[in-house]
Structures are given as C-alpha cells and as structure tokens.
C-alpha cells in the first residue's frame, strides 16, 4: 500500500519537475535559487540541475505537506501517531527522490521526569521517524538523528499544553 503511495508521489514529483524545466531555459534564476540555500544544517548547494531547483520550490511551498516540519508525540511514547504519518511519508518521498539531500531529525521530550532518560526518549523518537523513512525508501545515510531531550523546549510552562508541544521531532533540512 505504501509502495503504491510512494510511486504515486514520486510520479507527482517527476511531473512537477518537468513543468519547471521550461522556465529553466530562461537561465539566471537557477544560481539565485541555489544561493538562497539557507545555512541550516543539511543545506545543499543547488546547481543547475532542474530536479534540485524543484526540490527547493517544494520545500518552500507553504501548501505542501513538506512545510510541516514537526512531528508530535504522546506522553512517554515514541510511536508515530496516525495523524502524522502522512507528513512523515511526504518527507520520505521527497528524500527518496532527492538522494543527495540530507536531513537532520532532532528528537525532544517534555520536562517531566529525569533529564538523561528524556535525552534517550528524544533519541528514540528521532529514530522512530528515521526508521519509518528508511522503510519508505530513504537511504539511511541521508538522515542524521540527534536528541536534545528536554533541554530545548519550544514552549515554557508546566502544563499539558506546553508539554504536548515539546514532545516532538523536528525535521531540519
């Protein structure tokens, strides 16, 4: 089932690639696009390859599922929830069809309980997302995992609202 989905997405990406080729022939835009690579971890220098230019467009497209870069988790769990599977799949498909692009998966935990155990829990979450991506055809060498445990919360606060937003894996290109 997932293979069919993957094939479908890959086909969609190829088609998208084709449609921008014509714009490519105008020339100069490629260099600019390449230069616009942000300096975040895993950023790539994009050359004149039309496939890569469309990759940048996809990553920057706010309506694409690729714009969702955070996977949230339940308390004390590293299982990818059903409502986040499609996001993981979208990123996996993207990476599988762009094998030179690398990504960093940063795992986090909420503040409760012991810090070092939470560091391990964050890693377990990042590994869970990586495992899912590899199953979906991504080369493991494209994915770097790391964990900050509870050390880098995005929301300060001692309630479930804060905690639920801190239990996450961030997908960083």
């Amino acid at each position: 089932m997932t293979r069919a989905l993957f094939a479908l997405l890959a086909a969609a990406l190829l088609l998208a690639g084709c449609s921008t080729t014509q714009k490519q022939d105008d020339g100069a835009q490629v260099e600019e696009r390449g230069g616009a690579g942000t300096g975040t971890e895993g950023s790539q220098t994009y050359g004149a390859d039309t496939g890569r230019q469309s990759a940048m467009e996809q990553l920057n497209d706010p309506s694409s599922p690729l714009s969702q870069r955070i996977i949230y988790f339940d308390y004390d769990s590293s299982e990818i929830r059903a409502d986040y599977r499609s996001i993981v799949e979208a990123h996996a498909a993207f990476l599988a069809s762009n094998p030179t692009i690398t990504v960093s998966l940063e795992g986090h935990a909420d503040e409760r309980g012991s810090r070092e155990y939470n560091l391990a829990l964050g890693e377990r979450r990042a590994q869970a997302v990586k495992r899912q991506m590899v199953l979906l055809g991504v080369n493991g060498s494209q994915i770097r995992t790391t964990s900050y445990g509870e050390e880098r919360p995005v929301v300060p606060g001692h309630d479930e609202s804060a905690w639920s937003q801190n239990r996450r894996v961030e997908i960083i290109y």
Binding site: G113, Y117, A120, L121
Partner: protein, 443 residues
C-alpha cells in the same frame, strides 16, 4: 576550546580579584532558606569570635558562618546574638552559671588574630556547659582566603562531636544555570561553596549543558555539552580550566559517572543503536559495554564500594532502577514500587538509592532501600528531579519547578528538614554535591 579557557580563567581571575578587594561578607549568589526545620533541633550558642579592636575590621564573621551552617542543617537552633548573656573569648571568661540558667548546654567560643606575616590565627572551643569542660577545639593558622573554609571546618567538627555524624559544611556544589539574554539562552556550569558563597563559572555556552559529575578527589568535573550540536562528554580540571572531550560518538554521549577510585567513567552511549551503559577506563581509554538490551539503559551510578552500578532501564516497560556488577553480568531490578523510578544515586553508606519517583504525573525525590525495595518519598513538589546526596548522607540537593523555572532545593535524608535555595538570577538545575575536601594546607 581556548575561548572557553580564556573565559573560565577570566571568570576565576575576576572572582579572585573580587574576593581580595572586598570583605568576605559579600552576599552569596545562592540564598538558602530553611522552610521546615526539625522540632528537636539542638540549642547551641555561638559567640562572636574575639578580634583585636586595634586591628580594624575583621576580614570575616567566623561565628556567623558557623552559625548559619549549623542552622541550615536543620539539626541545630543557634541562639540569636541579642540573647547572648555574655561574649567570652577564652575559657576562663566563661560564666558557666549564666549559661546553665538559660539551659544552654552547648557553647562555642573563639578568637581570630592577625599575624605579622599577613596570615591569621584561628582558635575555637566547643564547651559542654553542664560538665564545664571543652569537648573539642583547635588553634591553627590560615591564610585570609582560607578563613571561610576554616569556619566550615569548625562547623563540621561541632556537627560531628554533637551528632556523631561527619559534617559536610566544608564542601562544594556544582550546578548548571540558564539565563535568557536578548532572546538567546546562556548556559553556565558553576561551582560554589555548599552555603552558596564563592560561585565560580567553569564554562559558559550558548548550547545546553547537563549532568555535572565531580571526580572523587574533587579536582575535576565531567559533564555533557551540546556545543557540537549533539551530546558529548567532557572532563574539565577545575583549577586550570583545561578540558578534554572524552567521547563524541554518533548518537547520545551522556550521563558520566566517576568510579569511587577515580579510574573509570561510566557513560551512556547509543552508538551501537540504542542507549546502553559503558565503562570507560580513563588511563587506557578502553570501553567496556555493560548492558545489551534494545531498551533505554542510562543514568549509571556507582555503589560506594565500586562493585556495582545502578542504572535506569525501561526494559520492563517503564523506567525502573536496575543494578549490575561493575565488571559485567546480569542486571537485576531493584525498584518495584510505582510506574516510574529513574536517575539512581547511591547514598554514601550504600544502603539506599535516591531516585526520581513518578506516580500519577507527579515526580518527587524518593529513597529506595536497596535491600527491601521499599520507597520513601522525601520531597513535596510536583516536578522534582536530579537528587544528589551530601557526602555524609544527611541531605539531598535536588531541583524543583518554581515560578521562574527550575530552582534548587534540599531535603534531609529522613525527610524532616526542607530548604529552598534561591539563585539571584536565572534558572538552576542539575546540582551535584562534591566530595569531602582535604584540610587546606597550613600556610
């Protein structure tokens, strides 16, 4: 990382200069308040030390430091200065009748005297008022910079003489602070005297710092730093600021724990696929793997005799405390009470293990009896963590969630005495109580 070394040298130099220029009464960066003391605290009278009036202002209030130490333990109730019936500075000045009338059994008197070579002579006597004799005392020489430590050592002697337990006032603590400056967080690894005085920054970083661990001789600290954008373990020499990266394998490198003989470091490494406990032999740099399980195994802690290592594992479903021989073997589970027991730390006598005990979404500090597995909850917060025993086993430092973030607190090992330790700015986390210190060298 010469930038950090420059910074730590600068910080140390600043504090050294600062302490030479201003009287040693300077405010502590940590302000310690007893929120619950023992009902049966021992009354004790500590008289201001004699000081030759022609010598100007004394460099330190010895009796205040001693009195605060004893009061802070929750086991003593020092008499307020205003209630002292007299201020003897020598044994023959003591009016025993006055003290007996007040029912004051324990009396501490002393003298501070400047010496021609710039050092000081310190003398104290602990007197049993009813027997009318001295039960402890000394006369030593000390350099000016050692006077606070000398006061702590006097408090240690009094504590041991009257309670039969070695005092831990002449000790230091390490902790991590976090401050927000201009939207960015600054992390710092700091050490201070156990009463919060003389804070000293060992390392500052824009990335998180975790898990400070004192070497058994008190000269080095191991810690986890994220300065390389993922966790790595460092060992830093406190006096020189020199440090080395001990391990930076792919994955987690964390939870350093020194063996009691100082030759090995237990660690959590996930380089082989999931977090496992390893032992690093520091002289040979060989790594020995102790656990082999697909679960999370982390937070190693050595038993005081160095033969066993306790650790956290969720191989049984949720985090619980296990124990394995330090040379390898089959881990056995120690904790069975409650769904969450983690972050073990042995008491100095090896009979109990402090843990973070979670139940019904509340996390508290508890002690686990190694023999029976029974749990005694000590702290009262909702988000308590990072317990650390004093080297005499009487108190535990830990952190609790406060209004401004994480705060330091302390509780006695029997749960009767509670303290809050407020830092002037920022959050404080991950306290580590250092070992007993050797007496400062006589000048």
């Amino acid at each position: 990382m010469t930038d950090f070394k420059r910074k730590t040298t600068a910080a140390a130099a600043f504090w050294l200069l600062f302490s030479l220029l201003v009287p040693l009464r300077a405010l502590a960066a940590l302000d310690i308040k007893i929120t619950q003391g023992m009902e049966a605290a021992l009354p004790i009278a500590i008289v201001p030390f004699g000081w030759p009036s022609q010598a100007g202002e004394a460099p330190i209030d010895m009796h205040v430091t001693i009195s605060n130490d004893l009061a802070r333990s929750g086991r003593f109730r020092p008499m307020p200065d205003a209630d002292l019936p007299q201020r003897p500075a020598s044994f023959d000045q003591v009016n025993f009748r006055d003290w007996r009338l007040l029912g004051m059994e324990n009396l501490v008197i002393g003298n501070l005297r400047p010496l021609p070579d710039g050092n000081y002579e310190v003398e104290f006597r602990l007197i049993d008022v009813y027997r009318g004799n001295q039960i402890a005392g000394f006369r030593i020489q000390a350099a000016r910079q050692q006077l606070r430590r000398t006061a702590h050592r006097i408090a240690d002697i009094i504590f041991e003489k009257l309670l039969g337990v070695r005092g831990a006032f002449d000790t230091r603590i390490a902790y991590v602070t976090v401050e927000e400056k201009g939207g960015a967080k600054r992390y710092a690894l700091q050490i201070a005297d156990a009463d919060g005085f003389n804070p000293q920054i060992l390392l500052e970083s824009p990335e998180p710092l975790m898990s400070p661990a004192w070497s058994p001789d008190g000269r080095q600290i191991a810690y986890v730093s994220f300065e390389g954008r993922s966790s790595a373990v460092y060992i830093q020499d406190i006096a020189t600021g020199r440090r080395e990266k001990v391990t930076a394998n792919p994955g987690i490198n964390s939870a350093p724990a020194w063996s009691p003989d100082g030759t090995r470091l237990a660690l959590t490494l996930s380089m082989d696929g999931d977090p496992e406990i390893y032992v690093l032999h520091l002289s040979t740099r060989t790594l020995q793997r102790l656990t082999n399980d697909r679960s999370i195994d982390t937070e190693p802690a050595w038993s005081p005799d160095g033969t066993r290592i306790a650790f956290t594992s969720d191989r049984g479903g949720g985090p619980q405390v296990y124990e394995v021989p330090a040379t390898g073997g089959t881990p056995r589970r120690l904790s069975f009470d409650g769904p969450y027991n983690a972050r073990p730390r042995y008491s100095p006598d090896g009979n109990s293990i402090a843990v973070v005990h979670g139940r019904d979404r509340v996390y508290r500090i508890a002690v686990l009896d190694v023999r029976t597995g029974s749990i005694q909850v000590l702290s009262k917060g909702r988000l308590d963590e990072s317990p650390s025993f004093a080297p005499n086993g009487t108190m535990l430092l830990y952190t609790t969630a406060g209004p401004g973030g994480s705060e330091l607190a302390a509780v006695s090992a029997d749960g009767r005495v509670h303290q809050r330790l407020a830092l002037q700015e920022g959050e404080v986390r991950e306290p580590a109580w250092g070992p007993f210190l050797a007496a400062p060298a006589q000048p």
